[in-house]
Amino acid sequence: MNHRTRSVLAVLAAASLALVGACAPGNQGAPSAAPSSGETAAPPQAEYKVPVISLGTAEDSVGPAIEPEGVVKGGTVTMIDRDDFAHLDPAQIYTNTEANFSLLIHRGLTGYKRVAEGEYKLVGDLATDAGTVSDGGKTWTFTLKDGVKWQDGSPITSEDVKWSIERMFAPFITFGPAYIQQWLTEEDYRKAYEGPYDGKRLDAIETPDEKTVVFKFKTPHADANYAFAMAGYSIVPKDKDTKEKYDKEPVSSGPYMIKSHTVDKSMELERNPHWDPATDPIRGAYPDVWKLEFGQENLQITDRLVADNGPDQQAFTFYASVPPERLQQVLQDDSLAERRMISPSPYGNYYYFNLDRVKDIKIRQAINYAWPSKQIQQTMGGPAAAALPTTILNENTTVGYEAYDLYGKTEKPEGDIEKAKELLAESSDPNPTIVYAYNQTPVQEQITVVIKNALEKAGIKVVTKPLDRKTYYDSISQVENGFDLYWGGWGADWPSGSTVMPLIFGPVRDGGYNLTHLRDPELDAKMKEISENPDIDAANAAWMALDREVQEKHAPLVVAENRIGTWLRGSKIGGAEVDPQMWIISPNTIFVKP
């Protein structure tokens, strides 16, 4: 067996492990020696492990962060990406790129601690632990640690925390998350309160002393501590709040401060002298200086990292995964095995049925059986480039994940046309017509052909409707969209079904997120019940069960193929891992070798 075949098989093995959702005992990473040319075995690259996310204790919340293997402290690390960060104000941060970057300069009440590769715990970041819940899940109390300071040396207080949440109600904040605000007031939170700038404060947040914050929600939320881990809920100093201008000049509570920033071109970070690693269980902050470069496309960044010349050896990228035109080359190049990281998408991708039009469940089930997952996977670049999930909730972002496969996709990824025909024969229309709308990109054009061919084999006529990329979402999110089947995605904001199911099966309205238009009062009641269940473990299990139940009872969608991203790093970069929830290289464990 030659090198290439070996490494392809290794990747296949990794991908299929990911499919089954098992926790592979797995490699902890590739050996550091490069293969010499006579060897028969290529060093396996770090295999993908489905992450395990659990709740940490107060002890887990104590700093410093756990050091990765072979860590080197000091030096200058270079990060190259295409886009600058449009928002630096936590309240305006939502994209994964900005959220990931904010780990370097912002801190929140809670956060995710990397315990080992693939193992994460929710711990207290500024708080002493991941919060104390009371009152049946309606009240959450956090205590701030000693020694947590702003970059000017002033202490971070509970007043800062209260202020940070209150200011998110202000009109100029439109971008960040809305969960906490809604839980504190009501669904239409902007009507309830307009922010603290006119002097009015929010009583639902209490600050009995300088170190204690109490949140009083209207309904129980057992996973609120996960919500606070979002970058959008990082803390802002009340005294230095410059409102709109804060978005360009934030104050740091994290390990670094912004030394210089040329918009869209570069940014340099230097150490924040008032950040105490002993208070921070999450961030390693090993390099002394961060140099960020913007403006290069994924293709160029990949080529640079492949070439690994001179200073590029101490460079990596947060976000620029290997583009399709380089993917095969990178995956088959053994010399890159050590510097390669893969991770499947943490987002739920689905082909939604429009239940207002495709009313017969047997037709929907038939389509699920006929679905050509394997062929679509091929179109996307093969098993190394795409995974085939079978559940609504994504295994990477669900605590308490349990896999199941309703339609036999694992055994028959190419689809089961016979079974589909059987179901269609029993349905109201053995030869239905399906109007399939799709985003008009080159890859989607190919996938559409694959789908059409497969469904036609089962006797289903497919009418395809290409839509312009810019208006795709607007088109399909209309209630009267005129289509029967269309692709869409939804990412969990924290690893719980509560950020997925109530959204994609929530209220049906124009521009909303319930694209299947599934309206089931029983389902609504069940979701409300689970959301308000104060027992987090029971809730997680219930979400998983509901996932299966929804597909069994309603079959409102076909679970779509998930892209597997591949990243490269320079040869002198250590500790580079893909954060499985955010699908981006995390800065927390990064170190640079001289």
């Binding site: 600058d84 449009a86 928002h87 939502y94 009109p171 100029f172 439109t174 971008f175 960040g176 998350p177 809305a178 969960y179 669904e187 239409d188 902007r190 009507k191 959008g232 409102k243 709109e244 201008k245 978005d247 360009k248 040329t262 918009v263 869209d264 071109k265 913007f294 403006g295 290069q296 496309e297 293709l299 160029q300 080529d303 640079r304 492949v306 070439a307 010349n309 001179g310 810019k470 208006t471 979402y473 607007d474 990412g491 904001d493 959204l503 309205r509 521009g511 997120y513």
Partner: protein, 326 residues
């Protein structure tokens, strides 16, 4: 001459106004909602409305356009973001940076890229054209014609990427292309732009070679050139002073157009080499429905072409005495 210039300047102003208006109203004809992009992942309707108010796009179109226009001349006050002095081009919908500053920041990159490449393709293209014309029919002529045809047919993203692969990553003959301000490090500035200049020049050279060659060939057969020879003028003088003079007009024409177009942004070149110039700014503005930046880049590109037209027309009068207005 003065009257001519005044007339042209007024005409240019009208053209720019019309282009701005058309762009503005076309933008709103596109169904994509810029407020949606300024709103988070979970975007309740009231937040969307607030986003629209923040961006100022809830106002009637005509009001918005007039505000934008007047802002250019007298500046504008924005709630929260403060005063934006004239010429005020607004704040980007993407990152709230002042558009005028962003354009000024990107201009040096685009101008450096344009001028460097222009010098190369003008000199090289014309020189090759002259050689080809003088050695008409001979091997040198054929080589020049074929290579310029190849140059015109290749695509920047292909040649550029290939050049990067061979000359930057594999052999490191060229430095990693990047923009370093000339005031900071002239040598770095030069090295960082050399490869982009060459690649961009390859595409444009062909046109100049072709036009120079064919015009020269025509001119070399002109009666006036024959007269010059009959006067006993030396062949080299005949070629340069008489034949070449006649080629200046078409060359100036296309040079003006090329320069104007490039100043509006060499999108593919900038993307291939990771240079943050006006071109990429324009593309991002379209992608993200960033109206202020879009208006600014369109205005800039249009102004560049209009200005170059006026310059070229004025140059005609300098080059060709027959064109001079009395």
């Amino acid at each position: 001459m003065l009257r001519f210039l005044i007339r042209r300047v007024l005409g240019a102003a009208v053209i720019l106004l019309v282009i701005s208006a058309v762009t503005f109203f076309l933008f709103y004809a596109i169904p994509a909602d810029p407020a949606r992009l300024a709103c988070g992942k979970v975007c309740p309707p009231e937040t969307l409305e607030q986003a629209r108010r923040n961006l100022g796009i809830d106002q009637p179109l005509l009001v918005q356009f007039v505000s934008w226009l007047s802002g250019i001349f007298v500046g504008r006050d924005y709630e929260g973001l403060g005063n934006c002095p004239a010429p005020c081009l607004g704040f980007s919908f993407v990152n709230k940076a002042p558009v005028f500053e962003t354009i000024m920041d990107r201009m040096p990159v685009t101008i450096a890229l344009t001028l460097g490449a222009a010098v190369i393709f003008l000199i090289f293209g014309v020189a090759t054209g002259i050689v080809a014309a003088l050695r008409q029919g001979k091997p040198l002529d054929k080589i020049a014609s074929v290579s310029s045809l190849i140059g015109a047919s290749v695509q920047i993203y292909f040649v550029g990427t290939l050049a990067m692969y061979f000359f930057v990553y594999q052999t490191q003959v060229f430095h990693q292309p990047k923009y370093v301000p000339i005031t900071e490090d002239p040598l770095g500035w030069f090295n960082g732009l050399l490869l982009p200049w060459l690649v961009l020049a390859i595409i444009f050279t062909a046109n100049y070679t072709r036009i120079t060659r064919s015009t020269m060939v025509e001119n070399l057969n002109e009666d006036s050139v024959r007269t010059a020879r009959a006067k006993g003028m030396r062949e080299r003088s005949v070629v340069l002073r008489f034949a070449l003079r006649g080629t200046l007009t078409p060359i100036v024409t296309i040079f003006g157009v090329d320069l104007g177009t490039l100043i509006g942004g060499a999108i593919i070149t900038e993307t291939t080499f990771g240079l943050q110039g006006i071109g990429r700014l324009a593309v991002r503005a379209v992608d993200y429905s960033d109206l202020p930046t879009l208006m600014a880049t369109v205005l800039l590109a249009a102004a560049a072409i209009v200005v170059m037209n006026v310059v070229v027309d004025s140059l005609y009068a300098v080059i060709d005495p027959r064109v001079r207005l009395s």
